[in-house]
Amino acid sequence: MREPVDEDVVSTIERVDGVAIVEGAVGQLAQVVKLEDGKPTDAIQHGQAPTLGVTWGPNRELNQAIGGDGRPEVGRRPTNAREVALDEVTAKDAGITFAAVRRCANASECGRARVQVVFFGGHPSEIFRVVAIFQFGTVGNLAGATLAAFDPETAQVMMSRDGVFDEIHVEATPGVPQVKLRNRIRGALRDEGVTGVEVLTGEQLAKDQSDEIRDNLKFFNIFLLVFAFIALFVGAFIIYNTFSIIVAQRTNELGLLRGLGASGRQVMGSVALEALVVGLLSSLVGLVAGVGVALGLQELMKVFDVQLPSGDTVILARTVIVSIVVGTLVTVVSAISPARRAARVAPIAAMTTDMTGPSSGYRRYLVGGVLTTFGAVMLAVGLFTDVEGFPGGSAALVGIASLLVFVGVAMLSPLAAQPAARVLGWFPARFRGVAGRLARENASRNPRRTATTAAALMIGIALMTLVAILGASIRSTLANVLESDFKAEFVLRTKNFAPLSPEATEAVRDAVPNAKVTDFRFGNLELANETKAVLGVDPNIGSTIDVHPRLGALEAFRQSGGMLVFKDAYEEFPARQREAGVLKVRFGATGRQDIPIAGVFTKKDAIGNEFLLAMSDYEENFTDRSVTFAAVKLPAGTSVGPAAKVIDRALAAFPGVLSEDQEEFKKGQEAQVAQFLNLMYVMLALAVIIAILGIANTLALSIYERTRELGLLRAVGMARKQVKTMIRYESIIIAVFGAGLGILLGLVLVRALVGALESEGIHFALSIGSLVVLVLLGLLGGWLASIFPARRAARLDVLQAVQSQ
């Protein structure tokens, strides 16, 4: 929350010993618009990147003035109120050639070297001559931002910085250390009684900025790591299951080893060692494949319209080591329980043919029950109370709680496997003859194996359910809010939800004279030492958006301004403050102020803010004039269609600014939600794919185990097609069981989550369609998982199979 600095400070700094150059700079939003035949056409913007207006002063090189390694390609510094310099990409998009700029700079024959620039501080848009094109590094512009550079005085006027600068750049005389000069400047400012000015060294500023970038990337990293963790977690289930099955299949062999004198510890060690080797090799393969997938995934993201910053693929030594260690560790840990079971195999087992292995009995269910309960309680604590002191905050707590619930439910799931397989197997048993009946029997013959296999799929599907239902809840809430609280027919916003120029809303006011247009401007203030978001609103808000004010609140707000406060926030105020009816706040620009409380409102769903400041008060205390969005309520009796045309015509001069009716606005918001959901689905798809591979793996192992049985079936006349049918339906039963468990668990989790978000205005909504799609996904997954194992089973050599043990 940095506020502008008075320009008089420049002369104060100039007098400080060791200062070589001082220059005030302005950095605000400025939208460059392409001109065709002198008329504005396209607003130039790249994706979500900002459109910036900056200064290029007389005293410093361009790269010093705008930072980075900017250097002019052609032309000269803009020196008057009619001139601008553009970055190379923006100039190209505006259809301006180097030759045109050269002529304009040297001979003042500007012809087509002109653009319009729209400002966001209240100054009307103007047409400028382009007298220079400059470059940023090698890519032309920085991460897609557009840059328009002005003479400092022009910048102050255009970007509503009269008498102030956003920053003051200082260069030291050679030999004066940065820190020393900074301290001198601080001292000088203190002596002059200047407050609210932050003095930073260049080093410090660079560090702050790179820290900020790293923080942003960190969030993205954590986001990705969460999904990687989910994938590993699912993988752990499959590893556990695989080792359980092979230990069971080797019962004879292990019994023989024990009979020959191997200790339980040695048997366990042999299984653990196997896990170690398998884990190490798999991690190596996974690492190589991961690098490949990273490249492929970037392409996939593009398909789903998710923009990622592009760059070279970097492989860090740390990544390699961590991947291999984590992969190996997860494998070994997952195999511990099966290894311990192997150690318990009795020597006598060498003689028996029972391959189901020792049953774990009630202990498993007891532990599963305890974990589920504990996880559920932790989840409730994380969601519904303020957690303090837990590392990572409530998000981490909720994550760990979900993990416990997943493990707990997975441990309990064998209880449900048999009945579920019987119910799900009804269809194949009824309509697919004896092959279908055998599929049902096979799916329920080893409930633990079926359940563990299904549990891996359960996790991915549960998270997908959570995402889908959360999305549906947000959408439905949005629709309800629009229907019930949105009185305005139109919303004015920019394409990418960046702020718009107040000029634009003014133009709409002029075009539809009796319409009520409410501007919303965003800002921050400090209240009781906490930074709070505030919306500056026109006092006519009652006509455009219903915030459900308490009796008389709007009346007071209209007449004498002040602050409308959301009821929850109001109730948290100290009683003293409520009685006084005055809020003691601090603004960045104007410092401590008393703002009268105009009243209380009870519904913030439509605006998402707890503090609404009357526009007159906002303008007194904030320098920013850009409009976050605006709502337009037509006069009674005006039909929407023609009005839309009038508004569109008024906005023609402001490319990039949209006027949307309710339906369009809703669609735009939904598209944003959908984009986020798609990203989540893509990430969760990995977990589902791993689970499907797990099903295929279990089937392959089961088929190996049942070789003789399959041979027998073929010998007495089962056709290959029937073998495939049998395996396919077994797979589908397992997968749909997993999907069903996942959906149930996901519904419970999302119900709790939405319950916790109730105070944010989100209400639970069920999307049956999504759930049906997830069931079908399970079905499809089961079918896919069965392809390879079914083919293998069908191709078994009958005679060999019958003769095998």
Binding site: G433, V434, A435, R437, L438, E441, N442, R445, R708, E709, L712, L713, R714, A715, V716, G717, M718, A719, R720, Q722, V798, L799, V802
Partner: protein, 248 residues
């Protein structure tokens, strides 16, 4: 051999049957240009030492294995020329099987195991036939039991029941009593005898047990992939004597 078979109907026969495993130095002739016929409505036993080719012959007759050269006929159909798909259907509809052990599908109960070939064909069992088999094999009170709940003898009875259920042209039995004690063995062999005498079935059985062979109408002796002897209306003693002769 020709005198008996010209007048009686032939259920299955092998002509110039050869089966060679391996190649070159390691070439093993499991069946060596062998000719044999199996009469309808008869119980035939195939005997011979280990490696004589008796199991290979049974597997080839049953369409579970293929000859290197020669022909196998089931009635008039040359099954040695049939596709795998057709063989599956022949096994399902026209043949019955009894193996030495693990004959049953563990997830199906006794009744379901017995009707398995019919179920695979999508046919309903004839209730009268079903009841007759179940009662003959004394399995009435075991019908809903899973194989794991049955004794070894009971399991083999279910296997015999399954082989009989589809009224096959011929039943192949591969050491059906190999895993059973003598009492249970006698029981199974008696049922097989009954099946031939009363139900008009045809059975071909591989065994190494002279007592088991004595239940048959005819014993065919194999050695080195060739027929080396034959005994009609055998007794345990006559079989042992013949074996001794061949062994020398």
């Amino acid at each position: 051999m020709t005198t008996a078979s010209t007048r009686t109907e032939v259920a299955a026969r092998a002509a110039h049957a050869s089966k060679i495993y391996g190649a070159g130095e390691n070439e093993v002739h499991a069946l060596d240009n062998l000719d044999v016929e199996f009469e309808r409505n008869k119980f035939t036993a195939i005997m011979g030492p280990s490696g004589s080719g008796k199991s290979t012959l049974l597997h080839c007759l049953a369409g579970l294995d293929r000859l290197t050269s020669g022909e196998i006929f089931l009635g008039d159909v040359e099954i040695s020329a049939s596709s795998e798909k057709k063989l599956t259907l022949i096994r399902r509809d026209r043949l019955g099987f009894v193996f030495q052990a693990y004959n049953l599908i563990p997830t199906l109960n006794a009744a379901e195991n017995m009707t398995l070939p019919l179920d695979l064909a999508g046919k309903k069992p004839d209730p009268e036939h079903f009841d007759r088999i179940v009662d003959t094999l004394r399995l009435r009170d075991r019908l809903s039991h899973k194989p794991s709940e049955l004794s070894g003898g009971q399991q083999q009875r279910v296997a015999v029941g399954r082989a009989l259920m589809s009224k096959p042209e011929i039943i192949f039995a591969d050491e059906p009593t190999g895993n059973l004690d003598s009492k249970a063995s006698a029981e199974i062999l008696k049922y097989m005898r009954t099946a031939v005498d009363e139900l008009g079935q045809t059975i071909v059985m591989v065994t190494h047990d002279p007592t088991a062979a004595s239940y048959s109408d005819r014993v065919v002796f194999l050695a080195d992939g060739r027929i080396v002897g034959e005994l009609v209306n055998p007794t345990t003693d006559s079989v042992i004597d013949e074996m001794k002769t061949l062994g020398e």
